[in-house]
Symmetry: C2
Subunit: 142 residues, 2 copies
DNA sequence: AATTAGATTAAAACAATTCTAAACTGTTGA
DNA sequence: TCAACAGTTTAGAATTGTTTTAATCTAATT
């Protein structure tokens, strides 16, 4: 399998050994042509149901965290009980569909670049995150 | 006390009866000249320590939620274990100081207005939230 | 004052995440 | 190749923020 080396490399670069479970995580995260958004539970389910590999939550969490730290994954800020991750690590923003609790990418060409005219003394900007909340027109918006 | 009527009004408009505990919450939230950011625990502590009023978490939560629903408070999206609220309900954005886990207001004049060039079919934009993460220059940024 | 609808509370329940400790496995070096 | 070690997996326990519950209390209404 051609991808195995790529996965192994990503794992090693993240400070992790390539184990059976972790390679399955890589398969899910890094083989699709398209990037996607997921929660930890989504990922666990995919691995157990589609790839028939038993995996514990702890393993999913520690691998995800290492990838995030290394920059192979991004975490998206939403007020939600769960954490959402994105396999697209390039600079881009998101819509959040409140009806479906689902993230939608917002291309750089779909939003004007953001210009911040202020500095916090002694601090450096680490990231600029934009979240555009959307919901169906006719919805109760409590 | 002049403010009592204002507090009572806000509570009633939020569908709540003005009780001793809730009036204390109002005192904390709505009497300061300046708006501020807080977590539920911050609020509980202030009420118990500064105003010497015993209050249960459940009461804090239900009151905060009613105020949020009514629009008297805003919740800020941060990836954090806790929820952050803002007594400033006008349209504005935030810096998040990762060193101190602290929100800082970003005035409308400090950021260019955001222009989204895309519509999600059948959906309406509910809000546009910008979070600018900052941290001290020399910090390990794991 | 009595009634009632809503509020308060401590404690239990809950859900996401983190931690733990024991069993297991990849890696290294003899 | 194999022993030994360091890192990994796992189930389950612990933790944390938040929500729910059910009993008691209180504000509003009569």
């Amino acid at each position: 399998m051609i991808n195995l080396n790529i996965y192994t490399k990503k794992l090693r670069e993240s400070g992790l050994r390539p184990t059976r479970q972790r390679l399955k995580i890589c398969e899910v995260l890094f083989s699709p042509e398209k990037t996607f958004h997921f929660t930890v539970n989504d990922l666990k389910k995919i691995i157990e149901e589609k790839l028939s590999e038993k995996i514990s939550l702890a393993t999913v969490y520690n691998t995800i965290h290492a990838f995030k730290k290394k920059g192979y994954l991004k975490e998206i800020s939403i007020n939600s009980d769960k954490s959402y991750f994105d396999t697209n690590t390039t600079d881009h923003q998101h819509f959040f569909d409140e009806d479906k609790s689902e993230l939608i990418d917002c291309g750089d060409d779909e939003i004007d670049s953001i210009n911040i005219k202020r500095n916090i003394t002694g601090k450096k900007i680490k990231s600029i995150e934009v979240l555009i909340r959307v919901a169906s027109d006719n919805q109760n918006q409590n």
